[in-house]
Each structure stands twice: as C-alpha cells, then as structure tokens.
Amino acid sequence: MSAVVKTITPFINKEFLLQALDAIGCKYTLQGNEIITERVDYYGNQKFVLINGRFQFQHDSSANREQYPWRNLNVKEYKTVSSFLVAVESKYHYFYNLKMEELEKQRQEEERIRLENERKAFVEKQKESIIAKAKEKGYSVKEENVKGKVKLVLVRNTY
C-alpha cells in the first residue's frame, strides 16, 4: 500500500492569513492566538490556532464532506474544509508575494537614496576642498548654482 500526501502551505504569518480571510469574505474574530471563523461545524466555530509557529485549522474532520450539515457556513462556495483551505492558501500566497514586491521596491528605493546621498556628499566634499584650497591661496571665492551645477569663480589680484 502506498500513499501520497500533500499539505497546504503552513500559515505562519498572521497578517497575510487575516488578509486572505478578508479577501475570500470569511468573517472572523480574534481571541489571543486564535482566529475564530464564522464557519460553525458540529463542534463549534472552526478556528486557526497558533501552534508551534503556524496557524493550524481546527475543525470537525467530517467537515470535508460536500453534504456536511453545517451549523453556519459564511462562505458558501467553500463547502468543504479542503476547498476552504485551498482558497485561503491561494490568497495567502497572493498577499505574501505582494508584500515581497513592496519590500523589494522599498529596498531598491532605499538603495537609490543611499547612492544619491553618496554622490551628493562626494560633490560637496569636492567643492569644499577646492574652496578651502583657493582661500588658502588668496583667491576670493564666489559660488553659484547654475542648472544643478556648482560654479566657483576664483579671483586673485597679483602685483
């Protein structure tokens, strides 16, 4: 006898899980480490409980039958636990990827700002160095900003 088992993605992030539940229209309440859904089976509300770092879905094991006598099923298109969890998983992935993209953009923006600041600091240092040396050598220094460029006019009179 052999068997093939496939599990869903472990829901380890509460934020994505809540977003996923919102997205599929599953109402819930929060109670400590529990996310209590309005899907009610024979034993009560089905819920996600944080155990060993992941939110595990607790439910009546018989609730995987199409004809299960639900006491309340707030998302009618997911009549079995499996179909419900697959839908949650799909949205969980969606919000996870969205967050990753957002973080990547944020990281790129931070890197862009860092490089921009590095460049500006270099130019500023370059300018300050020239001005200091020019003053040491007796030049009067006039500084202007012309179309984003720094223009230094150094003038000295000799006899």
Binding site: R119, I130, T158
Partner: protein, 68 residues
C-alpha cells in the same frame, strides 16, 4: 595689478570643468593641480596659443577631469 581668474564648474556627478585666465604658461596647470588635486584622471585639455607664450599675461586653459 593683474587679475587671475579661475572658473570651476562641478556637475551633479562630480565632473569638473575648469578654465583659467591671466595665469602665465604652465603655471595655470600647476595652479589647477593644486586646487583640484590629482589631474591624472584628466579627460580633456585645451591649450590656447597664449599658453605657450610664457610671458604672456593671459593664458587660458580648460580642463575637464573625470569623476573618481
């Protein structure tokens, strides 16, 4: 009394464009080197006829160096 004038432009990337007026011969390059530091990364230099006239009052040189 003679006026020595140096105009230095630094662009947003740190590239420098400099020109001198009223500084004799090779002295203008020496002066720029002292102000700008190393001129090893020089990209372009243009010497006017005046540059070669050591006693000429005006010499004009334009240099442009590359940003580090």
């Amino acid at each position: 009394m003679a006026e020595q004038r140096i105009v230095i432009t630094i662009d947003e990337n740190g590239k420098i464009n400099a020109s001198t007026e009223g500084i004799k011969g090779e002295m203008c390059l020496d002066e720029l080197q002292e102000l700008l530091g190393s001129l090893e990364e020089l990209q372009y230099i243009s010497k006017t006829d005046e540059f070669y006239q050591a006693n000429e009052l005006k010499s004009q040189n334009k240099i442009q160096n590359k940003k580090q």
